[in-house]
């Protein structure tokens, strides 16, 4: 199965104990599939049911594919300004 690197930030990076994770996902995996996989990892309970996910530096919908689509990142609730 393809390996997917997922970027983590802020409270999510703290919860998983790393700034990124590598997960094996089938080629047709969606954002929702990725979230399900990550929620079962140690620290994954920090994630809400539908966390924000960015694919190729834009917010993605739960049904969007994640493999070979560019950089994938989990986005904690933003708090800039």
């Amino acid at each position: 199965m393809p390996q997917l690197d997922v970027l983590l930030f802020a409270s999510y990076a703290d919860a998983f104990g790393a700034p990124s994770l590598t997960v094996e996902m089938p080629p047709d995996a969606t954002v929702a599939d990725l979230v399900t996989a990550l929620r079962s990892r140690p620290g994954g309970s920090v994630l809400p049911e539908r966390p924000l996910v960015a694919v190729d530096r834009a917010y993605a919908a739960p049904g969007d594919r994640v493999v070979d689509r560019g950089e994938v990142a989990l986005i904690p609730p933003v708090a800039g300004g």
């Binding site: 970027l7 930030f9 802020a10 409270s11 703290d14 809400p48 049911e49 539908r50 966390p51 924000l52 960015a54 530096r57 834009a58 917010y59 993605a60 919908a61 739960p62 950089e71 990142a73 986005i75 904690p76 609730p77 933003v78 708090a79 800039g80 300004g81």
Partner: protein
């Protein structure tokens, strides 16, 4: 127009000067600074962190939206990252326009969208020695429910912090 995620102090007067041109009669500016308290806790500083590349991209999208909506290209936005002390400027937005209403509307649009969409996080340093990431007052589930843009279903863009 211009936007930047920077790691150095923000020069608000320079931003204002950039948007003050002879065709404009109105300049509107918003400046966000580190406040000495948040949610009832005394704060002595804040770490600002970002998903840098996406923050740049998303902030650029917001500026282009403002150009199209409000009809001016005299827009400059800077957001600072790193550790800031109380009173330091974290974000500044300056817009120049021939008329005052769209100048003010554009600034408000940009700060509200920035706070909803740009992947920047802050960790407050409390006077009691502890630290904590600031979570938006809306639940993460509510934010996640909006696919294209976080927070579409928020009741108000006004979270508790400034």
């Amino acid at each position: 127009m211009r936007h930047a995620i920077v790691a150095r102090p923000i020069d608000v007067a320079a931003l204002l000067a950039e948007v003050t041109v002879d065709a404009n009669g109105a300049q509107s500016v918003f400046v966000g600074t580190v406040r000495e308290q948040n949610d009832g806790r005394a704060v002595h500083g804040i770490d600002y962190a970002a998903y840098d590349e996406m923050a740049q991209t998303e902030l650029g999208r917001i500026v282009l939206e403002a150009v199209a909506r409000f009809g001016t290209t005299d827009i400059v936005v800077e957001h600072r990252l790193g550790t800031l002390s109380v009173g330091e400027v974290s974000v500044a937005i300056a817009v120049g326009h021939p008329r005052r209403a769209p100048a003010m509307d554009a600034v408000r649009y940009i700060i509200e969208e920035l706070k909803r969409r740009v992947p920047i996080w802050k960790r407050e340093h409390y006077v009691d020695g502890t630290r904590g990431w600031v979570e938006a007052t809306t639940s993460a589930a509510a934010v996640g429910a909006a696919h294209e843009q976080p927070g579409d279903d928020e009741v108000s863009g006004e979270d508790d912090d400034a």
